[in-house]
């Protein structure tokens, strides 16, 4: 039940990060999701990423749509403001919020039904606008909250718990995000936290439209044989393209291991993404190569995961709109109102 808050007692030996918070400070209310739901693992990964990145919890705005996945922002970062918008429309709310105050970190959490069905349009347009945010889809191939209908990301031919066959082809959100212009595109698996946490950290430092599709099995409705989003299926078909390491705002001094294996990608804000390539052919700095790799592997029934594409030079919406630095919501009358004398001149021109 969501109205039970976690006890605020902190263990005195819990270590603090650079901004003075323990990991517990990044938690939220007790989850009401089913035990074993992939979404809870993603919440845990978000908590770890924020703690490790020394992000003050209240500087995050967490926003979501409707669905089990969209409930999760209540279960992490209780010191930050949250907004559960309407079904599928998180992207527009987040876009407006980010225009109002560009100084916060915007974290959008959504489901595959939320983003790929009713919200597909908003998803697409947020990507092409380059809204600076981390957009996470907790992708389980079903509608969890409405009890197990197929979602548009369910693979053609996969089976529902009740035995129905999915006859529609699947919407592939990472391919879409790439095509639409997202400048950081990744796919993770809720069962692989070691891979997921750095992906989230990289997205949080990216500064443009960062999209992470996280395969997140629904234990209640989509974890059976015949489902292509079950824990077992994903574990068997996961093709990790790379492992990333995220070094925040500091050039790294580690000796390079075997040449060609490690790639260092400086980000716009000075931080470094270290990529250990597992698939030698995958070049994460090329949109085209990313598309090819994804399509090729998916045709073979494999699920490519890892950092698929990143463009550190991407310009975001605020830059495109040439907005003043600082938050628009903090501007006062002096900055906003042209004043009575100016209005007289406008009047004069209208006579």
């Amino acid at each position: 039940m969501t109205y039970i808050a976690k006890p605020a007692l902190h263990h005195p030996t819990l270590t603090k990060n650079k901004v003075g918070y323990t990991r517990r400070d990044y938690e939220g209310r007790i989850s009401t999701l089913c035990a074993g739901c992939g979404h809870d693992s993603i919440s845990a990964a978000i908590i770890q990423a924020c703690w490790e990145l020394d992000i003050a919890p209240h500087r995050v705005a967490k926003m979501s749509g409707i669905g089990c996945s969209s409930k999760t922002p209540d279960y992490f970062l209780s010191a930050s403001h949250g907004l559960n918008s309407v079904h599928g429309r998180m992207p527009s709310c987040l876009t407006g919020a980010s225009l109002a105050n560009r100084e916060l970190l915007y974290l959008g959490v959504s489901g595959d039904g939320d983003s790929a069905s009713i919200g597909l349009g908003q998803f697409a347009h947020a990507m092409r606008r380059g809204v600076p945010m981390v957009y996470i889809v907790e992708n389980n191939g079903v509608y969890g909250l409405t009890k197990g209908q197929f979602s548009p990301t369910a693979d053609k031919g996969s089976q529902s718990k009740k035995g129905a066959m999915n006859i529609d082809s699947a919407v592939d959100l990472v391919s879409l995000a790439l095509q639409l212009g997202a400048s950081y595109v990744a796919r993770g698996f809720s069962g692989d936290k070691a891979q997921l946490v750095p992906l989230i950290k990289g997205a949080m430092r990216h500064g443009g439209a960062a999209f992470i599709d996280v395969i997140s099995p629904c234990v209640a409705f989509n974890n059976h044989a015949g489902s292509t989003r079950s824990y077992d299926h994903v574990r068997e078909h996961n093709q990790a393209l790379n492992r990333i390491d995220f070094i925040d705002l500091a050039p790294e001094a580690k000796a390079e291991p075997g040449a060609g294996e490690l790639l260092s990608l400086p980000q716009a804000d000075g931080s470094l993404l270290h990529l250990r390539k597992l698939h030698a052919a995958h070049d994460p700095t090329s949109r085209l190569a990313a598309m090819t790799t994804i399509q090729t592997l998916q045709q073979q029934g494999e699920l490519p995961t890892g950092l698929l594409y990143v463009d550190a030079q991407a310009r975001n919406l605020h830059q495109q709109l040439k907005m003043v630095p600082g938050a628009l919501n903090a501007l006062d009358e002096a900055a906003l109102c042209p004043g009575g004398a100016q209005l007289e001149r406008i009047n004069a021109a209208l006579r």
Partner: protein
């Protein structure tokens, strides 16, 4: 045949082809008359199409200053062969027809004066370039009409000089065409005595001449809106476009950086989502739309109401339902906006009567949205939005401060001020809010459309739902007190009749009241300026035996709201409805009320078995 003879009081109508460049010449004609101190009231009648279809510009010249549509046409300037027959028919007996006689036509009427000017032929003989031929044809006609109707050429020249400052070649060309038209009229049309004349007067004062949409846009700039998200739709697009161009001039730093953000969204759902997000995050945000857009926005409107998020919607109403009449006017979205969304939902609406109030109410709406923490509609319409109206100049008091409503700062929270997001701490049913990022430990909360308790925590308890729901209802009573109050005007003589009207109906209503009074029908008048209605509206209705409710829709939507919200006996409220998409006229109102007054005076007919 008796010709219509009138100075400073007539209607001239220009029938043109959309996209032929006639609009600016027509506007120049209107402005020149204004410069002569004579009030004018123009109406654009245009198709939902960019090029080729018929378009009309109807100009009422009115020394008495009546700014509604009069009805009837004294002079038709028929430049569109497509609509020739219809245009000729519209002219009042004794009126005038001015047309391009390059190909002479017999109009088939002997009760009007026909004036032909071979405008196309003259232009073809004078200008090589095809574009110049069409552009200067309009100016040539303007010159001839000015000459025939005594509009001062100097006033037009002055307008040219202002318009083409620094573009001497254009200025020269226009002035030459103007004089060519005037001398043609002097030399060849002199025999046609036009009885419609303009004479200098002093009736314009310091009023301004502007479209409502431009005024709304400017009001948003002055009122401190920083985020605008919109999706193109007639007749509201020029609000967002106007906001963009005013902001560029008035809200950019020296380095060209923007103190505003404008996004053309992918649809109305996204545009309202964006302004909701911005409002949630403490920016003043608005969108401009029309009926179909409001329909799409409803889910978010319910969310804004229930989660108590401020934002403003300018609804420039057009003819509905569905796509309806996109380029015609109505006041038919009242019910859709008042109760937009499912569940028990209610929204604040403001009803500007003219561009002056469009400016004023835009800024007011931003204040009210922040104060009340709720969506607020400004209910404009095509008639005010897309027609220039003569109105009082805009005014801004530099001492005016934005009302940002109840927002707790970090210092407030530190000082131990109580924060419970949805609790009524002050007895006005308006809670306090905090903005994201305010304080590291205090004041965060979760905004959601599902039921929440006073602390903003998810709840499925009926008692929590009742608390929020009842408080929202009471908050609406606060809204009725702080929104713009109705304007009441007593009749010259004591009367048991009243009339209620709102928005763009106002100028025609003013004129109708005067003409009814001249016929000894006296009415106390109440102009509604906002929804919800304060107690004074109920008092006004109860103080009269019968109250006419004049509006521009089929179903009497304001009347429904009055009956529903104030629990008025419907029999007291008599409908006067106009809904063919043209702006209501004084003639129509006066006739409808006169008829009903006569019916009222008749005792009930006997019912026979």
């Amino acid at each position: 045949m008796k010709r219509i003879e009138s100075t400073n009081d007539f209607v001239i109508k220009f029938a043109n082809i959309n996209g032929s460049g006639s609009a600016s010449a027509n506007e120049l004609f209107a402005r020149a008359i204004l410069r002569m101190g004579v009030p004018v009231a123009p109406r654009n009648i245009f198709p939902s199409n960019i090029q080729g279809l018929p378009t009309w510009y109807e100009l009422r010249v009115t020394e008495a200053g009546w700014l509604g549509r009069r009805g009837g046409v004294d002079m038709m300037v028929a430049m569109n062969p497509q609509t020739w027959a219809q245009d000729v028919k519209e002219i009042e007996p004794g009126g005038y027809l001015f047309y391009d006689s390059t190909k002479p036509i017999d109009c088939g009427r002997s009760d009007i004066t026909v004036i032909g000017m071979p405008a196309t032929a003259i232009c073809n003989g004078t200008y090589e370039d095809a574009r110049q031929r069409t552009l200067f044809k309009n100016i040539l006609v303007l010159g001839a009409l000015a000459e025939l109707m005594s509009v001062e050429l100097a006033a037009i020249e002055q307008l040219f000089a202002e318009q083409y400052k620094g573009k001497e070649k254009l200025l020269d060309g226009n002035v030459r065409a103007l004089h060519a038209g005037a001398s043609f009229a002097r030399e060849h049309l002199g025999q046609h005595q036009v009885g419609l004349k303009v004479k200098r007067a002093d009736q314009v004062g310091n009023r301004i001449f502007v479209e409502g949409n431009a005024a709304s846009a400017l009001g948003m700039v002055y009122g401190g809106a920083t985020v605008c998200a919109w999706y193109p739709i007639t007749p509201s697009s020029s609000v967002a476009e106007g906001f963009q161009s005013y902001c560029k001039k008035l809200r950019s730093t020296e380095d060209g950086e923007a103190k505003y953000a404008i996004v053309q969204a992918e649809d109305e759902i996204a545009s309202v989502g964006m302004i909701l997000g911005a409002g949630w995050n403490g920016a003043r945000a608005f969108t401009a739309t029309s009926g179909p857009g409001v329909s799409l926005m409803t889910e978010f409107l319910g969310f804004g109401y229930f989660a108590e998020v401020p934002f403003t919607i300018i609804n420039v109403q057009r003819g509905g339902p569905s796509t309806g009449m996109p380029t015609r006017t109505q006041q038919a979205d009242l019910l859709a906006c008042a109760y937009a969304s499912h569940g028990d939902t209610k929204h604040v609406m403001l009803f500007p009567e003219d561009p002056h109030e469009c400016f004023e109410f835009s800024a007011t709406a931003l204040d009210l949205a922040d104060r009340l923490q709720t969506p607020v509609f400004v209910m404009s319409d095509l008639d005010i939005g897309m027609n220039q109206r003569l109105c009082e100049p805009f005014h801004w008091d530099d001492a005016r401060r934005y009302d940002r409503g109840k927002v707790l700062s970090a210092a407030d929270l530190e000082a131990g001020k109580e924060f419970a997001r949805y609790k009524d701490l002050d007895g006005d049913s308006i809670p306090y809010r905090t903005l994201p990022g305010t304080h590291p430990k205090l004041g965060s909360y979760f905004t959601r459309g599902s039921t929440h308790n006073a602390q903003a925590v998810y709840s499925e308890a009926g008692s929590d739902y009742m608390y929020i729901s009842d408080r929202l209802q009471r908050k609406f009573q606060t809204a009725a007190k702080i929104a713009p109050q109705p304007a009441v005007r007593a009749a010259e003589k004591p009367t048991r009749l009243g009339v209620i009207y709102y928005g763009s109906t106002a100028p025609s209503m003013d004129e109708a009241l005067a003409s009814l009074a001249a016929d000894d029908i006296h009415l106390d008048a109440l102009r509604m300026r906002a929804f919800p209605f304060p107690q004074s509206v109920k008092d006004f209705i109860l103080a009269h035996d019968a109250v006419f409710v004049v509006e521009q829709n089929r179903d009497g939507q304001l009347r429904t709201l009055l009956v529903n919200e104030l629990e008025i006996d419907p029999a007291r409220l008599r409908k006067v409805l106009h809904f063919d998409g043209t702006p209501i006229t004084a003639r129509f109102i006066a006739a409808a009320i006169t008829k009903q007054v006569h019916e009222l005076a008749v005792s009930p007919k006997e019912v026979k078995a």
